[in-house]
């Protein structure tokens, strides 16, 4: 249950950030979309909104918050589950609440505020979705928001980063049904995160070659994955020198999208924005490089074993 950021701007009188630090990681987010903006139904802007931060430590974002709840590391799932129970007026033991590092009163107060909100929103970051519990945490956060809709309007949205990752996700979905972790080796898309996700393929050393477009796995992925990228042919398309380009066999310098190449970027709420280049680049765009690779590949003989005299030659 999500919405575009304009809905938050115009309506959200109650905003929770969970496991994220937008003040430092999404520096324009507060001022452009959520916290300080005057909205159609919130004419006084920041004064009309209440902001809660849930995190394991007091980050810069805590300064912006009205209420800061310091959850014990790794206890997000427990806290979310208790909140879900309280939303449904179920009894929760004080000891169970204490395990999360918060008191039952604090949690009950949060639930009361969530229910009393006219329009609530829960933004969750990688501190929730990538720590102990991982996708179970995200599911619990989304379910909490869904269940709150029995009382008031409530939405939840992941805080995404890393450039146009949402755009890649969107295009994969409409061309291949799945957002990531897709295996095309049988000629149609198959999906199995954990098996076909990039990091797993690389760590296991399943790939013969890798093309990296506008990403820098050499900087972020675990060592075995990086070792595999070094060992096998790696081709990088990137406007600049990156950790990955340094270990690659081939690096195509490409025009920077949004600066010297046109395109579309998807905001984290999946709203598409046209990119108009301000400068000219001597380099080709990513698209043009890939098109030329495809054209060259089409001239090569098919990889399937050729059929000769009715018998397959392996």
């Amino acid at each position: 249950m999500s919405c575009t950021l304009g809905e938050v701007k115009n309506r959200a009188d109650f905003i929770i950030y969970w496991g994220g630090n937008p003040a430092e990681c999404h520096p324009r987010h507060f001022t452009r979309y959520t916290l300080t903006q005057k909205g159609k139904f919130l004419p006084r802007g920041r004064k009309d909104r209440t902001m809660v931060l849930v995190d394991i430590r007091e980050t810069m974002s805590a300064k912006a918050a009205d209420i800061f709840l310091q959850v014990r590391p790794g206890k997000d799932f427990e806290m979310l589950t208790i909140l879900r129970a309280l939303v449904k007026n179920q009894k929760v033991r004080a000891e169970a609440a204490a395990e999360t590092g918060l008191t039952l009163e604090q949690l009950q107060d949060l639930v009361n505020r969530m229910k009393a909100a006219k329009f609530g929103v829960l933004f969750f970051g990688m501190g929730l979705s990538m720590t102990r519990g991982k996708h179970m945490n995200s599911a619990a956060a989304l379910t909490l928001a869904a269940e709150l809709n029995a009382f008031t309007k409530f939405v939840a949205m992941p805080m995404r980063g890393h450039g146009n990752v949402t755009g890649a996700d969107v295009v994969m979905r409409y061309t291949l049904s799945y957002p990531f972790g897709i295996n095309m080796s049988r000629g149609y898309p198959r999906f199995n995160p954990g098996e076909y996700s990039t990091v797993d393929l690389l760590v296991r050393g399943d790939t013969d070659a890798t093309i990296v477009i506008g990403a820098d796995p050499g900087a972020t992925m675990p060592k075995p994955a990086i070792e595999h990228l070094k060992r096998t042919p790696t081709i990088v398309l990137d406007p600049k020198v990156t950790h990955t380009s340094k270990l690659s066999r081939v690096h195509f310098t490409t025009a920077a999208t949004g600066i010297s190449a046109p395109g579309t970027a998807y905001r984290m709420d999946e709203v598409p924005l046209p990119l108009r280049p301000a400068l000219k680049s001597p380099y080709l765009t990513d698209e043009e490089v890939l098109k030329r690779i495809i054209t060259a590949l089409q001239k090569k003989p098919a990889w399937q074993p050729a059929v000769k005299g009715g018998e397959q030659i392996a």
Binding site: M1, T4, L5, R11, S177, F191, P274
Partner: protein, 548 residues
């Protein structure tokens, strides 16, 4: 150049009902004759139809793409489309991928589709998806009945300005028509509320009611002379007893043109889920007597699917009913959207009634020109199941057999067992092609007269209509042979139709300041540029006409 010879031709618009005659094609159009050296297809023992036209489907856009992400478990079971020299890889299933959508529609002999729900804010995305949907021609309807700029203008009774804004919005979205979804109800949903009836004010407004929105939009569209009438999804969708709301809506539309979308979901009697029954009879009676209206069936077939609609409040209710997954995606100032995976079960009382109501409407509405075959894909069933419905319509005995599978207590609540009508092939050609083309105002589609677009489907004539319409022997799109001997052998790009109503460009000066207040995007980035739309084919609307 191509000559199709020896086939029984069904071209209802030109009064051809199963006569054996030649169809000649040159330059992407139907022509009167082609030279003898033109390629000839022997269609003896086959029937020749104009390519199918889908008046209401959801094949592209942010909502559908959201749904794709929500149901990986359904994709796993769906039919793969393999990567070949002609085809891009993809999956069919309940939300086919863009490329698969083109192949599968063409693979059933359907060549035009109307994507029924597009918010302006994400219209750019919808057009990206449509550009990646090969073979078929496309158009789309922009969502307007919960657009707060329009509603605010109606609140202060500024009809003329609302009309200018609407015209600007149609062109900004590069849309072809206008869709109203649960007028006012989705705007109310932004506060967790809904509009069930036509007369209560929309939450957050004093003077605006669903009725006033419907009337204003229908007037605007008629005055702007858009080729397709107001495409309306009534209030109170899916609820028992909602047929009264539907009747009221149809009455409110007297004097206007209107297209009632997925009428099946709006034709229920009873007071609650336990007493729910079919109300197709009163709906069809009113509809039959009012030629200003057209509709599509929105029929339901049993099986797995996913429901996608801009009707946010209804989807929340459906989530509470199913307790399964729910996706909601509200679009700032414009509309909402909900996604709930759903299984229609034969043994479920409500589902069995829904199944019957869809067929009843198709059988009770007497003028086939005004009712189109749809399943509100993917809501009632996926579009590739249309041939199953065709068989149910053409074969009374088959229908009776199917009735044996549904719970007995349903039989007293539906009228389907009493209906003996069987569709003829001519009538099937009307509800799948000629009728929807007329409803959409696409004069070059849905027929095989001289000058029409050469979109032709050739089927082996068989007794079993489902088998016949599932696998065409030949499909020609824009004069190109796409399906040959039942195989996809060629893929081409389709075009996109958009309407350009006349508006005073000064309206942009009114919109610009509103925009910076209410939106989170710059005004300049909001409209879809013409370059974004592949194969754009613009319908210039007549000048604004004054009422009366």
């Amino acid at each position: 150049m191509l000559r199709i010879t020896g086939g029984k031709v069904y071209d209802p618009k030109n009064g051809v009902r199963g006569e054996i005659r030649d169809v000649c094609i040159a330059g992407g159009k139907i022509v009167s004759d082609v030279p003898p050296h033109a390629r000839t297809i022997d269609a003896s023992g086959m029937i020749v139809f104009p390519g199918g036209v889908d008046v209401h489907t959801h094949v592209a856009g942010a909502a559908l793409n959201f749904a794709r992400g929500l149901i990986p478990e359904q994709h796993r079971k769906s039919r793969p489309i393999f990567h070949t020299p002609q085809c891009r890889a993809g999956l069919a299933g309940s939300t086919p991928t863009t490329f698969a959508t083109g192949y599968v529609y063409a693979g059933m002999g359907w060549t035009t589709a109307n994507e029924a729900a597009v918010p302006i804010l994400s219209a750019k995305h919808t057009h990206e998806e449509l550009a990646d949907t090969p073979i078929i021609d496309k158009c789309c309807c922009v969502l307007m009945a919960n657009n707060e700029i329009i509603l605010d203008l109606l609140e202060t009774a500024e009809f003329e300005r609302a009309k200018q804004v609407a015209a600007w919005q149609v062109w900004a979205a590069k849309a072809y028509g206008v869709k109203a979804v649960n007028p006012g109800g989705v705007a109310g949903w932004k506060w967790g509320k809904d509009c069930k009836g036509l007369n209560e004010p929309v939450p957050g407004y004093k003077n605006v009611t669903p009725r006033s929105i419907i009337k204003a939009l229908a007037d605007i569209i008629d005055q702007l002379a858009l080729p397709h009438p107001l495409h309306i999804h009534c209030n109170n969708l899916g609820a028992p007893g909602n047929y009264t709301t539907t009747l009221e809506t149809m009455k409110a539309l007297e004097g206007n043109r209107a297209h009632m979308a997925h009428l099946q979901y709006h034709s229920y009697g009873g007071d609650d889920w336990f007493t729910m029954k079919s109300a197709s009879v009163p709906i069809a009676e009113y509809f039959n007597a009012h030629p200003n209206l057209t509709c599509d069936a929105g029929a339901v077939l049993f099986g797995d699917t996913v429901t996608i609609t801009a009707d946010g409040p209804w989807q929340h209710l459906l989530y509470e009913l199913t307790g399964r997954k729910w996706g909601n995606l509200d679009v700032e100032n414009e509309t909402g959207c909900g996604v709930v995976p759903y299984v229609y079960k034969e043994k479920n009382l409500v589902n069995a009634i829904q199944w019957a109501v869809g067929l009843e409407l198709l059988l009770l509405i007497t003028d086939p020109w005004r009712v189109c075959l749809t399943t509100d894909h993917p809501n009632g069933a996926t579009f590739w199941r249309y041939p199953e419905i065709v068989r149910l319509l053409m074969d009374r005995e088959f229908r009776k057999e199917q009735l044996k599978h549904i719970p007995e207590k349903v039989l007293s609540r539906i009228v389907l067992p009493d209906l003996d009508r069987e569709y003829t092939l001519s009538e099937i050609a009307i509800i799948t092609s000629a009728g929807p083309a007329r409803t959409l105002g696409l004069a070059q589609k849905g027929h095989l007269g001289i000058g029409a677009d050469a979109d032709v489907a050739v089927f082996n004539e068989r007794k079993d209509a489902m088998e016949m319409f599932s696998y065409p022997r030949f499909v020609i799109k824009s004069g190109q042979l796409i399906i040959e001997e039942g195989e996809l052998r060629n893929s081409i790009e389709g075009s996109q139709f958009a309407s350009k109503p006349t508006y005073d460009s000064a309206i942009e000066d009114y919109l610009r300041p509103l925009f910076s207040q209410h939106y989170t995007m710059s005004f300049e980035n909001y409209p879809v540029t013409e370059e974004c739309v592949h194969g754009l084919n613009v319908h210039q609307c007549g000048s604004c006409t004054q009422p009366g």
